[in-house]
């Protein structure tokens, strides 16, 4: 049985393990004990606080597998209320300029990358890491989307636009051609070093070091140009899944590796649009086979729980949950639960 719940300080060792296992290493999930401890504390505080508008909160969740005797944390994912709450969230924004000459009677399109703070205004899905054994299984979709079910219940805690930065393409030696051609010239550091610094410390050094002028794409190396807006091979499936969820490719790419940023108006996300409230009815006879899977989440902030269950509705549109599931979700018969039926591509159904 798989379960998503808010992370607590006790999850620190598991988070360290997951951070170290990420491929590629994630800027926003540094394998740095104090930093992760602070994040866990921040998340717990945010869940307990009566938040009325998105601010510096960052909510961290973990995925627990209850198959073994003691539940095991096998994944984590975070949701930042506001990408640029304190400091600007920098991206490159791709723009096309038209250079036309009457004298020569020509018209040329010139692509540029402009430093942008625009996504500072968005909420951010980030720090997703899943134990290798669970990749490609329904666990991945559960962990990824559980955050959206949380957000769907507390729109006042989030922004009108939600973004996700996909790790960009790296070569066999884990080098980023985009970094080699752009970032290295200004930051004088290796890609991984800067990624770590940005993850552990403030990113204010970006403003200190990057000139504010746009880059002309034609002046970049071919290798760098070819990976602008790319997605790391290990994250292609994730990108596809997010597009399914309603995310679209934005004009923005990551400042360091040129990776694609996906974005979506909050209200247009599948999980937000199609979530339905159902009263719970306990029914241990539900067979997964007969039903499409659904994500379900309870209504409690601090004790938030999200699971994947058969989308078994009674004739009066009550959600039929097994005793075990209801127990894990902390809901009793008659209480309301938020459910989102998963569409295509969600064939596999875990036992619950």
């Amino acid at each position: 049985m798989l379960l998503v719940r808010p992370a607590g300080t006790a999850d620190l060792p598991a988070l360290m393990r997951l951070a170290e296992a990420s491929v590629p290493r994630l800027t926003n999930l540094p394998a740095h004990r104090e930093r992760l401890a602070a994040r866990l504390e921040q998340s717990t505080r945010a869940l307990a606080a009566p938040v009325e508008a998105p601010g510096e909160e960052c909510y961290t969740f973990v995925l627990e597998d209850h198959a073994a005797e003691t539940p095991e944390v096998v994944g984590t994912a975070s949701l930042r209320a506001c990408a640029g709450a304190r400091e600007a969230y920098y991206t490159w924004r791709r723009e096309t300029l038209i250079h036309a000459s009457q004298q020569l009677d020509v018209r040329r399109e010139v692509s540029i990358l402009s430093l942008s703070h625009e996504l500072s205004e968005a909420s951010l899905l980030c720090a997703f890491s899943l134990d290798g054994r669970y990749r490609g299984t329904p666990a991945e979709r559960l962990l990824r989307r559980s955050r959206l079910l949380f957000a769907a219940q507390y729109p006042e805690r989030f922004r009108a636009v939600m973004g996700v930065a996909m790790p960009g393409w790296l070569d066999d030696q884990h080098r980023s051609p985009f970094w080699e051609s752009v970032g290295r010239r200004f930051f004088a550091r290796d890609f991984h070093e800067i990624n770590e610094l940005a993850g552990i410390h403030s990113k204010s050094f970006i403003a200190e070091v990057m000139p504010p002028f746009p880059l002309y794409e034609p002046l970049l190396s071919d290798a760098a140009r070819s990976v602008i807006g790319s997605v790391h091979d290990g994250h292609q499936a994730a990108a596809a899944d997010l597009r399914d969820e309603g995310f679209t490719d934005s004009r923005h790419v990551d400042l360091f590796d040129g990776g694609l940023l996906l974005e979506a108006p909050f209200g247009q996300l599948h999980s937000v649009r199609n979530g339905q409230w159902h009263p719970v009815v306990i029914d241990d006879e539900v067979a997964p086979a007969g039903h499409a899977p659904a994500l379900v989440a309870n209504q409690q902030t601090g004790e938030f729980r999200c699971m994947l269950v058969p989308h078994a509705l009674s004739a009066t549109r009550q959600l039929r949950l097994s005793t075990a599931c209801a127990g894990q979700l902390g809901v009793a018969a008659g209480q309301a639960i938020l459910a989102v039926a998963l569409g295509e591509g969600a064939r596999e159904m875990p036992a619950c």
Binding site: L104, R185, A188, S204, E208, P211, F213
Partner: protein, 352 residues
């Protein structure tokens, strides 16, 4: 050898020079109408009376030729002209005068322990209204070393400007041809201009020479460009001169003209510049009285530069073989004839 303003009858010679210099010499295109218009324009400049309104504010081009007056009378006029040079009194008033300025911006980050200067190319018209010395060319058959014809061409302009100081602004500049590779290509153009202009270097250069420069404003990258993003081959061109331009640069440096960070937008060759009153030849040249005497050996070695001061339109300059003494310069009657001066006239002279 005699320096004097160009005249209408020199058109044949001027066109011969235009053909001889070829595409590399952009200010003299092989175009008879253009050259005739140029002579017309320069004659009007020379003939403007001292004290005329606009003298200190209008654009004006002063074009000089070096005439070999020792050839036998039978040699046609066109074959007597050994070279040319010019002064543009105020650049950029008719058509924009563009340069890149290499600006420096400190980038400093405590976190990264980084403190460095980022060089950036800014499109600039800072020299608008300054004077330019330009169009210097000496035909090969007059290049023997001891004759110092090149020095005469280069240096007589300072005497002219010193004598008609009110016709010129405070600052003067010279543009130097940039560095090219063995195949005659400009690495700077290959890395930068080529991406923005749908024409080749020579074509761009030729249009510029003809004053048809609106394509520059239309197609130039308008945002500043960090040199760190250019390949090393292009960076190595910034402010560097063509092999063959070194002697000319040395001559201008000796006069006090310095590279102040402005470069050509096509080939990155340096602009050297100075305040006119600081130029050595302006500061050190002085007026003396002409004394004509058969006792002076004629013609003597090219030792001291002498020029007339009476009227702009009849300006003459040449080498004389001896220096002034107590405010007087002794001239052989041949030299006096060459300069068109009579005894007691004021001359401006410059000893080495």
């Amino acid at each position: 050898m005699l320096m004097r303003p160009i005249e209408f009858d020199d058109l044949e010679a001027l066109q011969a020079i235009a053909v001889e210099t070829g595409v590399g010499f952009t200010s003299l295109p092989d175009n008879r109408d253009f050259l005739a218009a140029r002579i017309d324009e320069t004659r009007r400049a020379f003939e403007m009376p001292d004290g005329a309104p606009g003298l200190a504010t209008d654009p004006a081009n002063y074009f000089f030729v070096l005439e070999d007056d020792e050839l036998s009378a039978g040699v046609p006029r066109a074959e007597r002209i050994a070279g040319c040079c010019a002064i543009e009194a105020r650049v950029g008033l008719d058509v924009p005068f563009y340069n890149y300025r290499v600006g420096r911006l400190a980038q400093s980050s405590r976190l990264l322990d980084l403190h460095r200067i980022v060089d950036t190319l800014f499109l600039s018209s800072d020299h608008t209204g300054d004077a330019e010395v330009c169009s210097l060319y000496l035909r090969p058959q007059w290049r023997e070393k001891g004759a110092r014809n090149g020095t005469l061409l280069s240096r007589m302009r300072w005497l002219f400007m010193a004598s008609w100081r009110e016709r010129f602004p405070d600052r003067v500049l010279a543009e130097m041809r940039g560095r090219f590779d063995d195949q005659g290509r400009s690495p700077f153009w290959e890395s930068l201009g080529r991406h923005f202009f749908p024409i080749d270097f020579r074509h761009a250069d030729r249009l510029t020479g003809l004053g048809q420069k609106s394509f520059i404003g239309e197609l130039m990258p308008r945002y500043p460009i960090c040199t760190a993003l250019l390949p090393e081959s292009a960076r190595a061109c910034i402010g560097q001169v063509h092999e063959q331009t070194r002697p000319a640069l040395a001559m201008l440096n000796a006069q006090g003209l310095r590279f102040e960070g402005y470069i050509d937008i096509f080939d990155a060759g340096p602009t050297v510049e100075a305040y006119l009153d600081d130029v050595r030849a302006v500061r050190h040249s002085r007026e003396v009285e002409a004394v004509i005497s058969e006792r002076a050996e004629a013609p003597g070695v090219p030792r001291v530069l002498a020029s007339t001061t009476r009227a702009c339109a009849t300006f003459r300059a040449c080498w004389v073989g001896r220096g002034p003494d107590e405010g007087r310069l002794m001239l052989h009657p041949d030299e006096a004839r060459r300069l068109g001066v009579s005894a007691g006239e004021r001359l401006r002279v410059l000893a080495d």
